[in-house]
Symmetry: C3
Subunit: 349 residues, 3 copies
């Protein structure tokens, strides 16, 4: 765990971020930490009731908590309505992103027609294509490839070895982790006389503002129209986003999810890890998909959707799984038994 270098008094934190301070405003902290790891120089937080017992044993110097927990500790504390969001803001303040110095590394290969402001940083062995535009303060780390005609907004951070194919458009404050591939060809093929013909993928990828995309995630360019990732979307690692998908603003998607072509996902959705979403579907706003759930039909109503077969000891699974293939017969037998059980009644009338 790295430790923040500067010391901050609780008083100065409350002044900056609000909340009610209970205890000594001169207590100072240098870093955030979870309750069970915190030391006296740490500011910790309680965001879920199940961690309350850790409040009794924590060595933290101070704690952020909600009004319902204000009297559960005698530690110096900041009481606020949303301790987790408060913690996130304080942590961002304590741990500012390290930006490499601006300028082009001598080993970078930059097309003469590319527009790169003096405030941007282009790292070693990066390539920037013809007519590409890089925004103010944006970081293109070592080994990144930015294709012809790509536009990247201001204050973006491309980590090492990101690839952005030609013509894709990236908004402001977008973070792309290493290995991300934006705008590769979508999976468009047509069978003709026993051979697949490739369908040129002539659309783009459009990424909004404040999007973050995790390591080795891939977002394919549109086949004809564009693939669109709206503002504030957060994608974890190793996600596949097919061509012409649209992901609505502020939707968060955990790792290993696959989204097949042309599916439209709403705003403020939350999609659990390894969920698999078929193509040409629509998913409404505010839908939560549980982890490892397969979605094969359009979902028109907000709510939580799930389809996982829960893990069980293998010898029990062996006994149960065989009946999955005969549910139809089981259901038929039950109908038969129900009919039979009704018949005698009639006879007795």
């Amino acid at each position: 765990m790295s430790s923040g270098e500067r010391s901050h008094s609780l008083g100065s934190i409350v002044e900056r971020f609000g909340g009610e301070l209970i205890g000594d405003k001169n207590v100072s902290v240098t870093q955030v930490a979870p309750l069970e790891l915190a030391q006296p120089w740490h500011l910790s937080f309680l965001s879920q009731a199940k961690y309350r017992n850790q409040l009794e044993t924590t060595r933290a110097g101070a704690v952020i908590l909600g009004p319902e927990a204000r009297d559960l500790t005698s530690l110096p504390r900041i009481v606020c309505t949303d301790p987790y969001a408060y913690f996130a803001k304080v942590s961002s303040f304590f741990n500012p992103v390290k930006i490499p110095p601006p300028g082009l590394h001598s080993s970078a290969v930059v097309a003469s027609s590319a527009r790169i402001p003096a405030s941007a940083s282009v790292g070693a062995h990066a390539c920037i294509g013809e007519n590409a535009v890089i925004g103010e303060g944006t970081v293109v780390s070592p080994g990144c490839f930015v294709g012809d005609g790509v536009k990247i907004g201001d204050a973006c951070f491309l980590h090492p070895r990101v690839v952005i194919y030609h013509q894709c458009i990236i908004g402001d404050r977008v973070i792309l982790q290493s290995g991300v591939v934006i705008g590769a060809d979508g999976f468009g093929i047509a069978m003709d006389a026993g051979r697949w013909i490739k369908i040129p993928q002539i659309g783009r990828v459009l990424i909004g503002n404040d999007v973050e995309i995790g390591a080795n995630t891939t977002v394919d360019r549109g086949a004809m129209g564009d693939t669109v990732i709206e503002d504030g979307v957060k994608l974890d690692n190793l996600i596949q986003v097919g061509h012409n998908v649209r992901i609505g603003a502020h939707t968060a998607i955990a790792g290993c999810v696959g989204i097949a072509g042309s599916t439209k996902i709403g705003r403020y959705c939350r999609i659990g890890g390894a969920a698999m979403i078929s193509g040409h579907l629509e998913i409404a706003d505010n839908v939560t998909i549980s982890g490892a759930t397969g979605v094969g039909k359009t979902i028109t109503k907000a709510g939580i959707y799930t389809s996982a077969y829960p893990a069980e000891p293998h010898h029990e699974w062996l006994k149960n799984a065989v009946h999955l293939r005969h549910l139809h017969e089981l259901a038929k037998k039950i109908r038969g038994l129900e009919k039979q059980s009704r018949k005698p009644k009639r006879k007795t009338k």
Copy 2:
């Protein structure tokens, strides 16, 4: 959406690709587009009956359609037996692949023993190993790594940051999207006295002609024999192909699929996204595996195979899933009830 630059008359298209032209042969188009996005300078297509209503409202300048739909519109139209394949050919004609100029970039690091024809293009920061052979007109984009002894055929296109390990063989007209890794070590380990020992992976990857492999997909080298991808195979993004797998010609596999070691997949199979195929299996020709389906046994007959638990509202899933673990008992109870329901009958005889 990018727009083709040249204008093509319907007459010249039919002359080149066949089909029956109904309407003015001098109507000209510059690009393809789907019915709902098409403008008057677009050639569109109808390949599925469900989009017929879009035919009434489309602004397309002309349409490709099948004989059954020839009278559904008054637009200029090309009637042919397979509108989707026809569209694919026209789009490829309108949108030729942009090939970078031939030659070696000065920052590329190329072994002196590598054989690279004057027609090939080797981009910035690419590495080409000892005795590697690159074919005529092949593009090795910036940041690619081509290992020792690798052979790549003619007219291939390696997008930025592809890695091909030593000794692997790639056919002609192969497309590898960014982040593809060909020939990394397979997962070969043996437990010995409480520790895993690595088993050297001394096979290769052999890739046929006209193969395309999607972004960040991995194909492991064989443990002893080779991993083989036959002609015309199409792999989408983020697929894992284990060591010694063989994928038969013209099989298409969607994103996020995993294929464990030594499995043999037949020709002309279609495997849906996120399907998971166990090791040491055989899958016959012309098998279709639905998305998110787990295949744990050999499949000897052509057909469609499925295993997904369909998503449902979470509160209903909670009620249902618990019974999955007791299917065995449910089935037993039904058998008991059936026996009982038969007994009274005998008594009444």
Copy 3:
């Protein structure tokens, strides 16, 4: 299949690795091969009873087998207790890893504060950050990125295009295949007034000794504490390891697995391909998770756990799957029938 260059007599092999030699000690072999591919210059092995019939037809020059199979062939043979581990050792001896010559390639970009011993190899277009430390004999292949403050132990092998973010710690004899990303930011976000705020990921990744990680696998850095991969862990390709996960020593995980944040996996576990493990769980030592199994709860006992819905012909699946959504009703009907079937009995008393 590459062939070992040196010739080894069976006598010299038994002298080095033990086991009982039956047959001519002067028979010599140059490479290992599986029974069905072996030629007279190959040493093969029988590790599973199901391959016994291949013993009759193999063209191998000699065979490694267990005591129970010692009399199943007249070929020169080495009898030992664990033929697979014996084979692994012989193969490693026949096929030593090719280490590139030590030294820094002129195109590598290495911070002046980095510590790189003369025995290490740093390839073309690699980047080594400030204060990074590389161990003796370690190979950093072309295009790798090693961030500020990273420490890598001795005799490691980073294949081309590996990325290690700042401050991560790697043990000795670690192998990272191409496209691996170590230490990218974990998926830490907090919702605040309708927008996600990023939670700085200030932990590290700590990787023990003798770990191998497969192509394009990602291991996220800890949110506050560290993500830990203990000694001897083996990870296959395209695996996602979330922030603050701990994977116990000598656990082996097959491809396409996802492990969500803060989950602790025990020692000597075996996790099948495409298994999905939720966050904040604990999995005991010696647990085996079957392929494609979703684990949503803590597992406290060693054993095998499974949850896959087995694939079946699609038309049968259509009939069966519909009942999955009504298991609850089916179970209720059965309870009803059971009650009814008990009632008449009482009446007849």
